[in-house]
Symmetry: C2
Subunit: 199 residues, 2 copies
Amino acid sequence: MYEGAVQDLIDELGRLPGVGPKSAQRIAFHVLAAESEDIGRLATALTVVKERVRFCVVCGNIAEADTCRICADPRRSDRILCVVEEPKDVVAIERTREFRGKYHVLGGAINPIDGVGPDDLRIRELMSRLSGAEVEEVILATDPNIEGEATATYLARMLRGMGLAVSRLASGLPVGGDLEYADEVTLGRAFEGRRRIDA
Amino acid sequence: MYEGAVQDLIDELGRLPGVGPKSAQRIAFHVLAAESEDIGRLATALTVVKERVRFCVVCGNIAEADTCRICADPRRSDRILCVVEEPKDVVAIERTREFRGKYHVLGGAINPIDGVGPDDLRIRELMSRLSGAEVEEVILATDPNIEGEATATYLARMLRGMGLAVSRLASGLPVGGDLEYADEVTLGRAFEGRRRIDA
């Protein structure tokens, strides 16, 4: 055990996800040795995030106002909606610069083992959003794992008969990857989704 | 890229040791979802450590006053001094409850590759401390690795002829370990330091 303040810091750091006791100790010693100014910036960043950042009332993405930057952007199309699990998925898709529509963030995926059911996700908000708006296409961009697939299947069933084009992101081999090292499910999907080349 | 405050937090977290971009993002989202009170406690712990914690003027250990708890404790013997690399080594040795003397924290080990020489460590402070005090025994408890051994050898040479008992912590098999999995250097040391059992 360390003297008061250092142990307090180790305890608080140890509550963060992915920070074990050893990492907490290492970070605490880094803090001790670092410039006060740098640590002040970190402490401020923590406080500012809690004060200023909330969730967009429209899409559930993180926002510093009532609506997020994307929902507030008039250049983005309201006709195509991309449904994702988490705000970090929005960031990943934005990086591709491929998508110019809007998002809906579910806040997770259906996961019976962790006790996450449809009612725990922002599905009701999605349905009321679709009923009123001019959306023509919904892209289900949940994760390509069991929970994400289950959520996409559930949503696809709910969206049936609403006159919407519903799609799912393509599965296949990652670009730059090595066929030999692809797992069999991915390789199977890559076969299933193969595209004809016009020679 | 995230909106302002979240990205600022990710940047600041990413400067901590052992926190990569993915971990920084994960921690930032944890912060977003956590109770404001909990994050407030973390921000305060960071600030308090920088305001209150310094290094003991006597031994170099972390302290919340001019001298640390151990140096200030009259029940601890001044006759036996344990030399360690870092404050965390003090904590590790204190946990054993085997040692009732005092410490001297070097602040690292001699490491030519990282450009750490004897002058970068608190060796001068050690020598002046030994010249004035009633120390009879010095235990060199630097790490059992190349840098720690080099530092211990260097110190042992400097302490020669001062009429002090100088010792090094025993190397050998870790208790609860498996002989089969011990590396050859450790096993070699265990042979070298074998003890006679009186049957």
